[in-house]
Amino acid sequence: MSDIPDDLRYASTHEWIRINDDGTASVGISDHAQDALGDIVFVELPEPGSSVNAKDEVAVVESVKAASDIYSPVSGEITAVNEALVDAPETVNSSPYENGWFFKMKIGDETKLHELMDAHAYSKHCDDE
């Protein structure tokens, strides 16, 4: 059974998003997603400062098994990326919700967060897959 924290919102493509105290949002991939991918060996991160739309492909994660696109869960501007993942991509496996975050963003319209799933709905989504 994978770990699905209650305080995050989730996209159907398995990204999570968290609103930070400073008003930015962090994005990563779920425990379910990292488990399905297996050992992660490369992470390609977006350019800080770029504007993205919801569902844009903004990053790539490659495991031994497969390559997978990471989509932005909402529209906004990328403000920071987790450079530590470049040298230690396995952090996404070991800490998907904390040290394994991919990027931070300034969200264009926070009301759009409600279009994403809560933990309960995401848990059901994973079970149905």
Partner: protein
Amino acid sequence: MGQQTSLYQKHLDAGAKIVDFAGWDMPINYGSLIEEHNQVRTAAGVFDVSHMTVVDVGGTDAEKYLRYLLANDVAKLDEVGRALYSAMLNHDGYVLDDLIVYRMSFGYRLVVNCATRAKDLRWMIQNTDGYAVSIQERPRLAILAVHGPESINKVCEVVEEDQANQIRGLKNFRGVELERFFIARTGYTGEKGVECIFPDSDASELWDKLLEAGVKPIGIGARDTLRLEAGMNLYGHDMDETTSPLAANMEFTIAYEPEDREFIGKPALIAHKQLRDAGKLPELVGLVLESRGVLREGQKLVTDKGEGIITSGSFSPTLKHSIALARIPINSQSCEVDLRGTLTRVRIVNPNFVRFGKKVFE
């Protein structure tokens, strides 16, 4: 639910993630493919490969029959226990399967791929006309492969002392029958080790003893990255019924001598050789990508001589970059891969990347 080996519950107990593999429920990993891979390169791991198909060939014409059936020559097996890697070709000289054949006291034992089981058995039986042979599948045998630098010592810890001495004395591609167990120095990882073939009713006991001795269970995920690093072909990926063994780095397994031996596919291979000499048969090479990214099966290649394709690709846990096997026009000097829309330069090397834990290509 697919077929299960007699160790299915043991895999679950060890935390296996189960996937379908050619109709079998097999452990892909027990947590981390990379850790399992490194375990085999640095210590010892055990693979349950009981899904593979064992076929025993007996009868007075067993040798004569197999000398006709297989592209390698079983006459090389001059002692009981010796092993040989061979292709089984069709009449067009294409690869029906690749296999290991052991000489046994009763005749010969073939271990073939499980995905090709039905086809192989049909083909073997079809070609028995005129030969006094018996062909018997042995579905109730388990196969455990124990590989890694410490593998032989670990196996010897869990068997009787006189048996341990016989196992220690085995050279590569040699095996020995020890009561119900057949133990041979063969494998699919590029490390030293043994494969044990024995009644599946004994499988749980041996499995438990090996784990107690510190051998770690290894899934079929790491089996694939280990064999790829060792430059070993995987049937259905690096070659199949549309591939000449000459285009699959398998010529070393073809016994053209003695000249008077006829075998299935031999006339066609002569034609393949002519094609190759004219530069019209592709070759299987190794590819190395030292920058970021992972080469994957099916990715398209462009060389200075034409187009090619990756037949097996992965991240190499030992080398920490990507490697691949690829079929490209013969004598290509340069090669680029289409990596998610971007053409990226890759290096062409001999298809052999890692042996005994060390990088072996230049």
